[in-house]
Amino acid sequence: MGKDGYRSPQTGGVLDRIAPVVTLIGALLSTAGFVLAFTLAGPVNGATVNGVEVIGGEMVSNQLLFSQKIFYFHMPVAVTSMVMIGFVAYFGIRFLQTRDAAWDERARIAAGIALLFVLATMFTGEMWERFEWGVWWTWEPRLTTYFILMLLVFAYFVMRASFDEPERRATFASVYGIVMFIDVPITFAITRIVPSSVHPTIFRTDSGLSPDMLLPLLLSLFGMLCIAYGLFRLRLRAQELDERVEHIKEQLDEA
């Protein structure tokens, strides 16, 4: 496999050694972000979600203020899930280039972690909807496209379960992983394309987030990304060890 300078990706290197530490840092950071969200960030007038307003001491609605804190968890988790889906697509491309099973394994694990974060996003989003908007469900564009993203990740796993032959399964999964990524930029950009959306456009130069809100948000975001990384490496390592055990068992059987 050493041909063309290609080396199969390995586990057990420095990337794995730092994984537990990174996970821990991630946990601390997101906890800090979460705490700061309650202590540092000012309360928000929930009635005008678009163009978030910091009101300081002046409160408009006590009930709305508190549920807004979900945002400091919801947004980082959502962004992390999209990043993970991006990695599923990247690993898919690498697999198609190299036909190396190691890349497919990475894609599968990344998709698993993406699923975890997608579910967390849906759950927090659901709480948000209920308490901020007062409805259980609405076909609002961002919500809809994200819901579709969840279905795509489900479909990815349904598809993997439908094929027995490993190389064929890996190829099809890679292809689907790549096409499903198309929905990510759409979800991301939908608040710009369809202005009626009730989701605020966060990433812009005049996002309307004051520093006291931005700090906990960024802490949480960075923390979540660290957690995703740690989970990925740990899961990958566990998987690799599993396979090694299987292999040794097989060899013992043959002997």
Binding site: M1, A101, P166, E167, A170, E243
Partner: protein, 251 residues
């Protein structure tokens, strides 16, 4: 033969072995379906590949037929590299498998004309007539393939595979599903269309496979266990070896 096929792209090297494999492997994850296979086969030979189920026979054949890519190693067919120019290889090979690869709702003639057009055969009409004649299906040319018996379908399959005059013909378990009479007809036909072509057959049937071949190869767990020209082989010893190999079972 080489001269007459000069109109095909990627003209084969005169005198090159029909097949030339060097360290060909098919690996996925930890599974090695074909493991480091190396051998040369001269032009005009008839190679039979034997081995237990799951030995990698079909995987090897599918790689040689350009339907799947080797993970490593190099394979040349008629001197053309399989990985570098699969399309050039495709012009020189034909495949007859237990799947007919024929459209049930098209007539015999339509099926052959479809192939002829895709390959770009200039004298298509003439060639289709000839092949139908050769496999004794001229009287059924206007009938849809769905109405054919298994044996007739298999004969049409031969016509289809040889339409473009391949130098190397692969046979993947061609006898499966044929009754003894159809097998006889099939063998006669293969002998008739043999000419100076190279044949490579994968088969379960040791006796049948051994009777027709000029070279034999035994595969087990993806590796070559034995490879020799038939003249150098003592059948009894060979059979004993084969039984032992089958006894090794699937890895």
């Amino acid at each position: 033969m080489i001269g007459t096929t000069s109109t095909k792209e990627g003209a084969p090297l005169a005198g090159a072995p029909a097949l030339s494999l060097e360290h060909v492997s098919k690996v996925f994850g930890r599974r090695r379906a074909v493991d480091n296979v190396t051998f040369d086969l001269p032009q005009g030979a008839f190679l039979s590949i034997f081995g237990p189920n799951g030995a990698g026979k079909s995987t090897l054949l599918r790689m040689l037929a350009t339907l799947s890519r080797p993970t490593s190693g190099s394979a040349k067919i008629m001197g053309i590299d399989l990985k570098e120019d699969p399309d050039a290889v495709r012009a020189h090979i034909g495949l007859i498998s237990h799947n007919s690869m024929l459209y049930g709702d098209l007539t015999a003639e339509e099926n052959l004309m479809l192939s002829a057009k895709l390959y770009g055969i200039q004298n298509a009409r003439e060639r289709v007539d000839e092949m139908l004649e050769a496999v004794e299906l001229s009287h059924r040319r206007m009938d849809v393939v769905r109405t054919f018996s298994r044996g007739m379908t298999q004969r049409l399959c031969i016509a289809r595979a040889l339409l473009h005059d391949p130098d190397v013909v692969f046979l993947d378990e061609p006898y499966s599903g044929l009754d003894p009479h159809a097998v006889e007809i099939f063998d006669d036909l293969i002998a008739a269309v043999r000419e100076d072509r190279t044949f490579v057959m994968v088969s379960h049937d040791l006796q049948k496979g051994f009777a027709t071949c000029s070279h034999a190869l035994v595969l087990a767990r993806g590796r070559v266990v034995a490879y020799a020209a038939k003249d150098d082989i003592d059948y009894d010893a060979f059979e004993a070896l084969y039984r032992r190999t089958v006894g090794m079972g699937v890895a």
